[in-house]
């Protein structure tokens, strides 16, 4: 009996020391919700011994506001293209020189560089995708046009059955493509055109919400939804008739990037993680989970065939010209945009 308690005590001690050794190897990860496979996180923890703690947010702006308000303690945050620009300019990003990482050779062009961080000093690539809209082809007999018109001036059968993203930036951008206006416009007359498009559409909208777009389509609560292409891919799992549209007026192409926030407590672990994520098999697993493309060469071999076969994910070459990158608008343009959005909902 006594012997046993000694052993128990010893193993408890051993566990304690393991615990504290592990506490040295930590990583605080700040990401969009539902955007990183839990299994992949476990795999990383197993391979490196670094313990990952995840915190999530719902939009770039939430993340920015939290960092600006002085939240520290995050080692990695995920930001979209234009937000990387803001973070660098606000001094919220640490220099990491991703180009020097061992696995950077795996990064496919054009993702080895980026508009707002050409030398990849502050950011490492994660996933990328597009914002278009999806409709349920079984809900209509009509030959649908490949245009934002179907979304903003819907046919009879879609009226009242449309979901829009509750996202000021995405909605303004899409409406500006349709109105033929520059999305970072500083001209109130042009902003008025965008507002007109949105106001005209509003009576036909069932809901503005960025969450649960897949569920709403799957439950047939709506038969058309503005969506990110990865969500469109996942919608097709329940509604095979769902079609993701690449509108001829153009659609937003966005890319998400890992950034190490200033004052990250575990800088070296963050670098280890970023380098590890550049391995094809790991990048592929993230893609399979989220439904978005990564930018790592050789990851195709590890991807689900359903991803490669889906035009929503694997964009047909002829649409390449339609992609319009995200842009960090000026204060004046942002104010106009917010006023349009407020007028739409006032």
């Amino acid at each position: 009996m006594k012997f046993r308690s000694v052993i128990l005590g010893a193993s408890a001690l051993a566990l304690l020391s393991v615990g504290s050794a592990k506490a040295d190897g930590e990583l605080f990860f700040y990401n969009w919700s539902n955007y990183f496979p839990p299994e992949l996180m476990e795999k990383f923890e197993k391979e490196t011994g670094i313990k990952v703690t995840l915190d999530v947010y719902d939009s770039n702006e939430t993340m920015l506001a939290k960092l600006q308000a002085g939240a520290s303690g995050y080692d990695i945050a995920v930001a979209s293209d234009y937000m990387v620009d803001v973070m660098i300019k606000e001094g919220l990003a640490t220099e990491i020189d991703a180009k020097d990482f061992e696995n950077f050779k795996n990064v496919a062009k054009p993702h080895d560089t980026m508009k707002y961080d050409p030398d990849r000093k502050y950011s490492a690539t994660y996933l990328w995708g597009t914002t278009g809209f999806t409709y349920d082809a079984s809900a209509t007999d009509a030959e649908m046009e490949r245009s934002w018109k179907e979304f903003f001036e819907p046919r009879e059968e879609f009226r009242g059955k449309i979901g829009a993203l509750n996202d000021e930036v995405e909605m303004f951008n899409a409406a500006s493509y349709y109105a033929g206006v520059e999305k970072c416009t500083e001209d109130p007359a042009e902003a008025q055109k965008v507002l007109d498009v949105l106001l005209k559409q509003k009576p036909y909208i069932a809901v503005y919400s960025s969450e649960g777009t897949i569920d709403r389509m799957s439950a047939r609560e709506v038969s058309m939804h503005m969506q990110w292409n990865g969500a469109a891919h996942r919608t097709k799992e329940t509604i095979p008739e769902a079609v993701f549209v690449y509108p001829k007026e153009g659609l937003t192409y966005w890319s998400d990037h890992f950034v190490v926030p200033t004052g990250a407590p575990n800088l070296e672990n963050a670098k280890t993680f970023l380098n590890w994520m550049m391995k094809p098999e790991n990048a592929a697993e993230a893609s399979n989970y989220a439904g978005y493309m990564n930018s790592i060469k050789g990851s195709g071999a590890f991807m689900d065939p359903s991803m490669n076969d889906d035009p929503a994910v694997n964009m047909p070459e002829e649409y390449a010209d339609l992609l319009i990158p995200g842009q960090n608008c000026s204060v004046k343009a942002r104010d106009l945009r917010n006023r349009v959005w407020t007028k739409l909902k006032s």
């Binding site: 702006e61 809901v207 609560e221 959005w341 407020t342 909902k345």
Partner: protein, 296 residues
């Protein structure tokens, strides 16, 4: 003075004062400060650079010629919030008073059990409860299904994502805040007074109006305040049940700290709201200075 520090009362009150100063006064002062600062280009504020833009923007906007013109967008959102809150208050009162009255008429054991039932919704997160209402109200949802099953052809209820759904959700959420204070004042009610009213020839309606209601007035007032004010800050319900189609004040403030990246304006809106609430509370307390309880 020395006497004061030795007094028991001082030390008993001190923690509460410190708590309020630290968790309420300090953040409020910080908000006030932020609201009169210049906004940063990328969100945040420029510390030390002052501007009253936030308060000017609440009422005015610049037109094409750069003139200030009246802008009613924000006022409209405020009016909507106050209107919906008032409506919620009235609904909660209409439902809450009979409920509280009924509970107060029960035996002691039953009363405790019923009050316990009223508090059950607090066990669950407000977000979860709003999602539950979405499932209830949606076309083909539980309510729609039951109506159709009972032979009432709804052809789709079409109530989710409308202002009606918002007021149902808000009334549901804040109802317990109405029931509990009214119950508290009815529970103390001396039933002999009601009997006396009957003895003196009052009918039921008259007894209710002249005896019970005045005695319950403090509870009703407390309930109304407890429903009205938090309701002004409702954020989740208009977003989920209203389908994000119309903003309430909280959504507007949220968007200023989010996509608009205009912190001073967000903070300024918070203060306009605070000022309006304080003024209406002041007006209320002046009007009802002599609450019936003091007359007794």
């Amino acid at each position: 003075m020395g006497n004061m520090f030795r007094s028991k009362r001082f030390w008993l009150i001190a923690p509460a004062v410190v708590y309020i100063a630290f968790f309420m006064a300090l953040p409020l002062m910080q908000m006030a400060y932020v609201s009169v600062l210049e906004r940063g280009d990328y969100g945040g504020v420029n510390w030390g650079a002052f501007s009253v833009d936030a308060y000017v923007n609440f009422l005015f906007e610049r037109d094409l010629m750069d003139n200030l013109v009246l802008n009613t967008d924000y006022i409209q959102i405020f009016v909507r919030s106050f209107g919906l809150s008032a409506m919620t208050m009235v609904f909660a009162l209409l439902l809450g008073f009979p409920t509280a009255f009924y509970i107060s008429m029960q035996s002691q054991g039953r009363r405790n059990f019923l009050i316990f039932l009223v508090t059950i919704p607090f066990w669950t997160n407000i977000l979860v409860r709003n999602y539950a209402w979405m499932l209830l109200l949606r076309n083909g949802g539980l309510i729609d299904g039951v109506l159709n099953w009972a032979g009432i052809e709804t052809g789709g209820l079409d109530i989710l994502y409308t202002p009606y759904a918002v007021s149902i959700g808000l009334t549901y959420t804040y109802l317990p805040f109405m029931v509990l204070p009214i119950y508290a004042s009815l529970e103390k009610l001396d039933h002999r007074l009601v009997e006396a009213a009957f003895d003196l020839g009052a009918d039921k309606r008259r007894a209710m109006k002249r005896v019970i209601l005045p005695l319950a007035a403090p509870g009703i007032a407390a309930g109304c305040i407890l429903v009205f004010i938090p309701c002004l800050g409702a954020y989740v319900t208009p977003e989920l049940l209203g389908g994000g189609k119309f903003m309430m004040i909280a959504n507007l403030i949220g968007s200023q700290f989010g996509a608009a990246r205009n912190w001073p304006f967000g903070a300024g809106l918070g203060f306009v709201l605070l000022a309006l609430v304080l003024i209406s509370m002041l007006a209320y307390s002046l009007k009802f200075k002599s609450l019936p309880e003091e007359k007794i």
